[in-house]
Amino acid sequence: VPPTISQHEMDHLLMADSGVVETLLQRIEKADDGVDSLNVAASLGVDHQVIVGAVKSLQALGDIISADLRSSKHWELTVEGSEIAEQGSHEARVFSSIPLEGLAQSELMKLSFGKIGFSKAMSNKWIRVDKTQEGGPRIFRAVENIEDQVREKLLQVQKGNFSQLDEKEKNELKKRKLLSEVTVKSYWITKGSSFSTTITKQETELTPEMIATGSWKEKKFKPYNFEAMGVAPDCGHLHPLMKVRTQFRQIFLEMGFTEMPTNNFIESSFWNFDSLFQPQQHPARDQHDTFFLSDPALAHEFPQDYLERVKKVHSEGGFGSQGYKYDWKIEEAQKNILRTHTTAVSARMLYKLAQQKFTPVKYFSIDRVFRNETLDATHLAEFHQIEGVVADYGLTLGDLMGILHQFFTKLGITKLRFKPAYNPYTEPSMEVFSYHEGLKKWVEVGNSGVFRPEMLLPMGLPEDVSVIAWGLSLERPTMIKYGINNIRELVGHKVNLQMVYDGPICRLDS
């Protein structure tokens, strides 16, 4: 916001002090390297505050002048010192009071300056005392002429010629309380970038009238203060996690991946676990890890022949597998849960794909998953899983690593390496690590693998079709991107709305 000077102030400046302001500007123009406000005040015979006022008014108009505040030490006569400068020193006045015939000491002491003047004049040997006279001691001149140096010195100081006096003399006069040292603040004034000796009234803003009449051409406009902040716009905001989700969607779409319908939070254990060849006694299917439903507790419809094949591959093996060899129960598969991963949807999609003539597909999804886990600063009971799946003839591990490289490059991550890992439904499985330049170490950024034949073949996919997949959480990259340490500040009702208001746009690769 530009500094505002009221119309009243402007009028005051122009009318009351315009003489001073203009004279000041003329002085500045003539001076080579600037003028001191004190000197100007002294030479114009006005109070220093008047010049200070003129300086401030000119500063408010922009860069007409530039004024630097400086302070200087300065000697000034005391009241007694001024009296001496005017009438002479006490000792000189004593000398001149004494007629040729002398003066009784008692008479001299009656004068106001008598006492101090007498002793000084005595030590200067200007006078003598004759104590033999009748009627008491009498004072006589001892010399014909005197030079009143004290007065001379004080007159020099009064004229501002401090340099005529040496330090010793100044200190002596100070000791006699005739001089005092004062600090004076003044401005050193030089020409500003838009110096001019004439000032006109400045407009604050362009108005419709000025545009209509063309008067803006003659007007001067008050400069803006570009240091100040603007007025915040009235606006709505998108949530940071959703902004990152939009970017991940964009990346998948750029890579030709089709979005899966993941709008089914409630899933049967069958699609969430059994179809993925995750055995029924696997710890992930425990009450401690998964949310089970009491209502609706069970799922009822399954593709019956597919279910039989899943049962067989678990309990007896088949499709080149020994299976897990346990008593597979439909009752376990029926149990409804809150899905623990979006791979349940991938399983449904791959099953659907297997029911048609096979064509290669690329699928992705980003949606909520649920874990009945212990909560802490980085773990919630629900989070968003990002998942990519590619199904084609003869896909290799090299293809998986190649596509992960392309995917992560779009996130600005180019240094990747892969660690062997174990996932129940992929074989081989690889954890994806990227080199974190800030932490100077490799950090896990995702998990990946090739879906097991025991998952794909019962669905009815051709034997030579491989399916590669990878996943990561949406929250973790978002927390890193936006520098959030506690996940509750990002997700859920405890969100810090100020953080949402202040959030930048999301470009993952920069």
């Binding site: 709505g236 609706p296 080149g320 897990y324 591990l397 090299g398 596509i403 499985s429 590669i468 709305l497």
Partner: protein
């Protein structure tokens, strides 16, 4: 993922060389392990129980290593060293052999039919002429504990008992009896207890009390006797004191009782293969069932020059292999330690690990595919942008909440909602899936009361409703909800947002084919300040000024108006 703590110096001694922490970390990474932490017993005790308790603890350096959940053969020093040494070509993969006793018949374990009611399976084996040291003994105990915690599912699936064979005599009987009829001196106790007494004795035992529930409610408890009636163990709770293992033990009898036979075999194999190393005839075990797998034809997951090369790679992973010369067929011998190998793909993974994942050339799938957005998500994305442009700020709330949030606090009965209920929530926050977005937005406002007014929030997200027409009996419904919170209710603001939304969705303000609102009664809203939103003749949602009771229950102080609609009809 299980973590194994191994003394660093013992590990290096067994590996025959020392490593820097970085070098060892690198080796782990290549092999599929993770060096999780470098610590000491002292540090662990000090962290968990304070410095004073730690003063007596050992400060020998421990490596905490994360082992993949299916690799039970890497859960002890012996197995880990064996795997790494073979991987580094420093050791040939051992070939485990099943042998018969030098003299006499094999040991027998007779299972009686009573066990069917509680724990029906058992397998057993003998390790002959083993030499224990303190370290080997500790590792032996530690491995049992790791197996119990992992594959044995806290002893519920399998329980291991180990005994000094020279203190007992076979044949052994595995049976089940009522707890009152069982009496013996349990491990590290001085007198006999009945099983009933033991169960109450161990109620307060910090370790054993976790296993009591496995048999507690059964009419009979599992029990193993020798031919003289000496109790070996009462699985899965405790062994007898009589047959306990000591450093002097030469012959070890190992039994595994189980509710899952396959797992019992795996566990027994693991115990005997790991410690057969210390037998006078290394890698031999007496009368155990050791399964051997047939050969597999390998599908090509990555390019390797020749089948011979693959066979070499596999041999480095303890899978003795040879190319048969028939096509690309390789014959692979699966040792009993590798219960995780159930398909050719498991073998290929090991070949890939031995080759080095990071040595595989990266390629790109060639399939040409056209991307499609899921229409509901596309609509959601577009709508969200314009709702933010309309001055509302997006919130993001949990899909799970308490029953109170969606019922009592909104002035409704839980039975009126079509909520899906969770059977095992750890806290009230996870009792139900939300049926409306409104409570989440009101809680967001409550948590942000310090922010300047007005607060204008929205969310476009899924709720869950029971729906019998779906296979799982429930479905998601995509909703748009918005709230306005200020010193005045601002019904007109929310109404204006509805009008703008309809404009964005190309629905005109009109009865019939357009949209209109009409007064409705709803206990969430202030009487006379609620309307139904009707689009093309169907109700899609409501808007209005919230009831003061609702405002109070969400710990708010200002008037508030809100709207919520189903957006799926606009697809």
């Amino acid at each position: 993922m299980p973590t194994v703590g191994i003394k660093r110096d013992l590990l290096f001694k067994a590996l025959g060389r020392t490593y820097t922490d970085e070098e060892f970390d690198e080796l782990c990474f290549e092999f599929g392990l993770e060096l999780d932490e470098i610590t000491s017993e002292k540090e662990i005790v000090s962290r968990e129980q304070g410095d004073t308790k730690a003063s007596d603890a050992s400060d020998v350096i421990l490596y905490k290593i994360d082992v993949p959940a299916n690799r039970y053969d890497l859960l002890c020093l012996e197995g880990l060293v064996r795997g790494l040494q073979v991987f580094k070509n420093k050791l040939e993969a051992p070939r485990y052999r099943r042998i018969s006793p030098v003299n006499g018949d094999p040991q027998k374990l007779i299972i009686t039919k009573e066990t069917a009611a509680v724990r029906p399976f058992a397998v057993a084996a003998v390790l002959r002429n083993i030499t224990f040291t303190q370290e080997r003994y500790d590792s032996f105990i530690e491995l049992q504990e790791k197996l119990h915690q992992n594959i044995c599912r806290k002893r519920s699936l399998v329980a291991i008992g180990t005994h000094d064979l020279d203190t007992i005599s076979g044949p052994f009987t595995y049976t089940a009896k009522p707890p009152g009829d069982i009496s013996f001196k349990p491990l590290n106790q001085t007198k006999e207890y009945t099983a009933t007494e033991l169960m109450s004795l161990y109620k307060t035992d910090s370790h054993l009390r976790h296993y009591l529930h496995i048999i507690e409610d059964k009419p009979v408890y599992p029990i193993i006797y020798d031919s003289n009636g000496i109790v070996l163990s009462m699985p899965p709770i405790i062994n007898g004191d009589h047959s306990k293992i000591t450093l002097q033990t030469k012959n070890v009898f190992i039994e595994c009782t189980a509710t899952d036979l396959t797992k019992a075999k795996i566990v027994l194999d693991m115990m005997v293969t790991m410690f057969s190393e210390y037998c006078s005839q290394p890698f031999t075990v007496e009368e155990a069932e050791v399964p051997l797998l047939a050969s597999h034809t390998l599908s090509s997951l990555f390019y390797v020059e020749s089948t011979e090369k693959i066979a070499q790679l596999l041999t480095r992973m303890c899978l003795l292999s040879r190319a048969t010369g028939v096509g690309d067929e390789i014959e692979v011998e699966i040792p009993p330690t590798r219960s995780d190998v159930i398909h050719a793909c498991d073998i290929m993974e090991d070949a890939a690990i031995a080759y080095g994942f990071n040595n595989i050339t990266r390629t790109t799938p060639r399939a040409y595919t056209v991307a499609n957005q899921f229409p509901l998500n596309k609509l959601t994305e577009l709508l969200r942008q314009d709702l933010a442009a309309a001055g509302f700020t997006e919130a993001l709330n949990f899909a799970l909440c308490s029953e109170e949030d969606i019922a009592d606090k909104l002035g409704k009965k839980i039975s009126e909602t079509r909520a899906a209920h969770i059977s095992n929530p750890k806290t009230a926050e996870f009792q139900v899936a939300r049926t409306t977005l409104l409570p989440g937005l009101l809680k967001t406002i409550a948590a942000n009361r310090k922010m300047p007014l007005p607060l204008k929030l929205f969310e476009v997200s899924d709720v869950v409703l029971k729906d019998e027409t779906k296979d799982v009996g429930a479905r998601n419904s995509r909703r748009f909800c918005a709230v306005y919170y200020n010193k005045s209710p601002g019904f007109e603001v929310i109404h204006g947002l509805l009008d703008r939304t309809m404009q964005l969705l190309e629905v005109k303000s009109a009865r019939g084919e357009g949209y209109h609102i009409q007064a409705a009664d709803d206990s969430t809203f202030f009487p006379g300040r609620c309307a139904e939103i009707i689009v093309r003749g169907k109700t899609v949602g409501r808007l209005g000024v919230l009831h003061p009771d609702v405002i109070n229950r969400f710990e708010l102080t200002m008037p508030c108006s809100a709207m919520e609609i189903d957006i799926e009809p606009f697809l």
